[in-house]
């Protein structure tokens, strides 16, 4: 007679638990799953100007991969993501190592270091656009004063330099965030490991190479994948600085998605590019999950 009561209670608890996760599940279905499947469906259609939806199968994908601008946009995206991550992590590591030590004014310097990260993107882009201005920008004037160039240089308006110029702004804004993360990992390394290494005769470079880097590598790997995903999706800086121009020289995949969806009204084509981006980002996501499993410890 007692057993049925326990089973009933277990069953009731299971249903109750389901009820608890129902709101989150509903949000997931409505705001993630439904839009995702809608976009995937839209990528198989072409929407005509009069509103007719014509099924075209994989034609949008074929058009995307055969477009003359696509290789350039892929290259831009790869440079933006991989080179950008490398620079952000590198600069972040240097800043973190500098801030790891105790020195006079450390708190003030840390606060100043965080300004680029805390500054709204629109403000940062406006300031950098003025700095880059070929006629009166400080960067151009500085290069002319040093004798590196004699004429005005348009960094944002040159197809060869526009992407790098915008990337500098992005690295400048994100590196402090990387520095903070790496710094917190550095603080978690037990000091006695360094003391033991010093006793064994290890110099600074050896301590860095054999202790610091292995112990922070897991954290840096995870951070790198995370900021890589953010870089892949970052639209605001490029849009505000160059709008992907001139002539798509600074455009990455998300710019193409925006232009086709909202400027050219090619919703199906834009959806196809979104699906391609989703597949690429899924690779990043899998790497991120796998990266969390790898840990180095000397304890």
């Amino acid at each position: 007679m007692k057993k049925p009561k326990r089973i009933d209670r277990n069953k009731r608890e299971k249903w109750l638990n389901m009820l608890y996760i129902l709101p989150m599940l509903a949000v997931y279905v409505v705001f993630i799953l439904y839009p995702m499947t809608s976009v995937m469906k839209l990528s198989l259609f072409d929407k005509k100007i009069n509103g007719d939806m014509i099924f075209v199968g994989l034609q949008n994908f074929v058009d995307f991969f055969t477009n003359v601008d696509t290789p350039r946009v892929f290259l831009n995206t790869a440079i933006w993501v991989f080179l950008g991550v490398f620079l952000k992590l590198g600069l972040g590591l240097i800043m973190a190592l500098a801030l790891y030590k105790k020195f006079y004014g450390k708190k003030l310097i840390t606060g100043i270091m965080l300004i680029p990260y805390a500054m709204p993107a629109a403000v940062a882009c406006m300031i950098w656009r003025l700095l880059y201005n070929p006629m009166f920008g400080h960067i151009g004037q500085f290069l002319r004063d040093l004798g590196i160039t004699t004429q005005a240089v348009g960094f944002l308006g040159n197809t060869k330099t526009s992407l790098i110029a915008v990337m500098i702004v992005n690295v400048w804004a994100v590196a402090p965030f990387c520095a903070l993360n790496i710094l917190s990992t550095l603080y978690s390394i037990p000091k006695y490991i360094y003391e033991a290494a010093s006793i064994d005769g290890a110099n600074a470079w050896q301590r860095f190479r054999c202790i610091t880097m292995p112990l922070i590598s897991s954290s840096m790997r995870t951070l790198g994948i995370l900021i890589g995903i953010w870089a892949f999706n970052s639209f605001d800086v490029i849009y505000m600085m160059t709008q992907g121009g001139p002539a798509n020289s600074s455009a990455i995949l998300v710019n193409l998605i925006y232009d086709n969806a909202f400027r050219f009204n090619n919703r199906g084509y834009s959806a196809a590019i979104s699906v391609v981006s989703f597949v690429l980002l899924s690779v990043f996501a899998i790497l991120y999950v796998r990266a969390k499993e790898d840990e180095v410890s000397y304890e």
């Binding site: 100007i49 348009g154 197809t159 232009d259």
Partner: protein
């Protein structure tokens, strides 16, 4: 306790979904307006969108007068130029258009085909229809009917800094070849002086600067029946080569400049010439500065003597919201010398309604350098085409012009590639 918590969470979810469905209730207001329109009831309000604060204060005055006469409130919205197209398309997709809007003539055909707009000719009075110039009406027409209303119009030509020309010992050129010949004499980058200011990076403004050259050389965006490109030919490539050559002597911000920067370069006397309307002179006049050094010249001619001014036609669009009758009445009030005429006079644009010439002396004054020289050019003004997919076609053309100017491709390769892409877009 657990049951109570579960109940609260479930209720929260229900309220959240209910909030989402409120949108569908409000979107039926268009239907209610339509029902009211067909009957005797007027809507409580109509919405008019202007761009870039153009005529905003005067619009509000007109709205006040309209409300006092009809009891219908006119809600004025002000959007930025840069994302107006994206914004209106998104709203139109959701059936939430404003009742009327200031837009660009190139949208006419596309919006008509999409079914977003009602034919303005069917709603405005005959007096207003006849008041528009023939050229203005044709720009807003599709298949012989005026679907949108001509609004602000400007005619752009080449302006020179006479002081810089005199200092270089050259006279005002009459052809693009002559301008290229004198350009080296006007080019002194170490002293911040350049022969020309142009745009070769911004999609829309690149064509604003380039099209007059393309037309002067005898080419065009499309062929006569609009089925293929009209620039991947000898004439078009020669025009592009001229633009590439001119860029060598131009202010080096052309890769990132918009038309506003070309105006600044000219009014700050950095560039000896640029292609625009009276806005620059108006800006100098408003700042109390001398602009007597500005020479307004006729557009430069191509090899065969052809020359064209760039006509820029903005429009008023009547959206199919069910409030067309009453909205057309507001637009009729707005399109008077007292209201829109005053905005055009203040901005230094060209009127396209005869009543503005009759009722505002500034427009008839031959000595008014802000208006008279540009009005005189209207007969040779050509306008950007109104094509379906124009935004994409414009971007493709502008990108290849940019690539040629930046030295990435030769003029021949650039326009050959651009021509293939534009043909594909026209066929779609």
């Amino acid at each position: 306790m657990k049951k109570a918590l579960a109940l609260i969470l479930a209720l929260m979810m229900v309220f959240a979904f209910t909030a989402c469905t409120q949108e569908s209730a409000t979107t039926t207001s268009g239907d209610e307006a339509q029902a009211a329109e067909s009957g005797t009831e007027l809507p409580e309000s109509i919405t008019y969108v202007t761009l870039g604060s153009t005529g905003l204060d005067t619009l509000k005055q007109a709205a006040e007068e309209f409300e006092s006469e009809t009891g219908v409130e006119v809600i004025i919205e002000d959007w930025a130029y840069s994302d107006a197209y994206q914004k209106i398309l998104t709203l139109a997709e959701g059936g939430n258009m404003p009742d009327a809007m200031y837009g660009f003539a190139s949208w006419t055909r596309e919006f008509k085909e999409a079914g977003y707009i009602s034919c303005a000719e069917d709603y405005i009075g005959q007096d207003l229809f006849n008041d528009f110039s023939e050229a203005a009406r044709s720009v807003c027409s599709v298949d012989g009917k005026m679907w949108t209303m001509p609004s602000y119009m400007s005619v752009r030509t080449i302006l020179f800094n006479q002081n810089m020309l005199d200092a270089a010992g050259v006279s005002v050129p009459t052809t693009w070849d002559e301008l290229l010949e004198i350009a080296p004499k006007l080019y002194d980058p170490e002293n911040g002086q350049y022969a020309y200011s142009l745009v070769a990076g911004h999609a829309k403004n690149t064509l604003d600067c380039f099209l007059p050259i393309l037309w002067a050389y005898g080419a065009d965006v499309t062929n006569e029946d609009g089925t293929a490109n009209g620039f991947a030919n000898e004439e078009g490539i020669a025009a592009l080569q001229m633009y590439v050559d001119l860029a060598q002597y131009a202010v080096p911000d052309y890769g990132e400049a918009t038309i506003n920067e070309t105006q600044s370069n000219f009014t700050n006397q950095v560039a000896a010439a640029y292609f625009h309307n009276a806005q620059g002179m108006r800006a100098l006049a408003d700042a109390g500065e001398d602009y007597s050094w500005v020479t307004i010249a006729e557009p430069l001619a191509g090899p065969d003597g052809e020359k064209y001014a760039l006509g820029v036609m903005d429009i008023d669009i009547l959206f199919a919201t069910g409030n067309e009758e009453i909205t057309a009445k507001f637009l009729e009030l707005w399109h008077t010398a007292q209201y829109q005429g005053s905005v055009i006079e203040d901005a230094g644009w060209v009127p396209n309604q005869q009543s503005y010439f009759d009722e505002r002396p500034a427009f008839s004054d031959e000595t008014n350098v802000m208006v008279a020289p540009f009005c005189a050019l209207e007969p040779i003004a050509k306008f950007k085409p109104s094509l379906i997919g124009w935004e994409e076609i414009q971007k493709v053309m502008a990108d290849y012009v940019t690539k040629a100017v930046m030295g990435e491709m030769s003029a021949t390769d650039a326009f050959t590639a651009a021509g293939e892409q534009v043909d594909k877009l026209l066929a779609d």
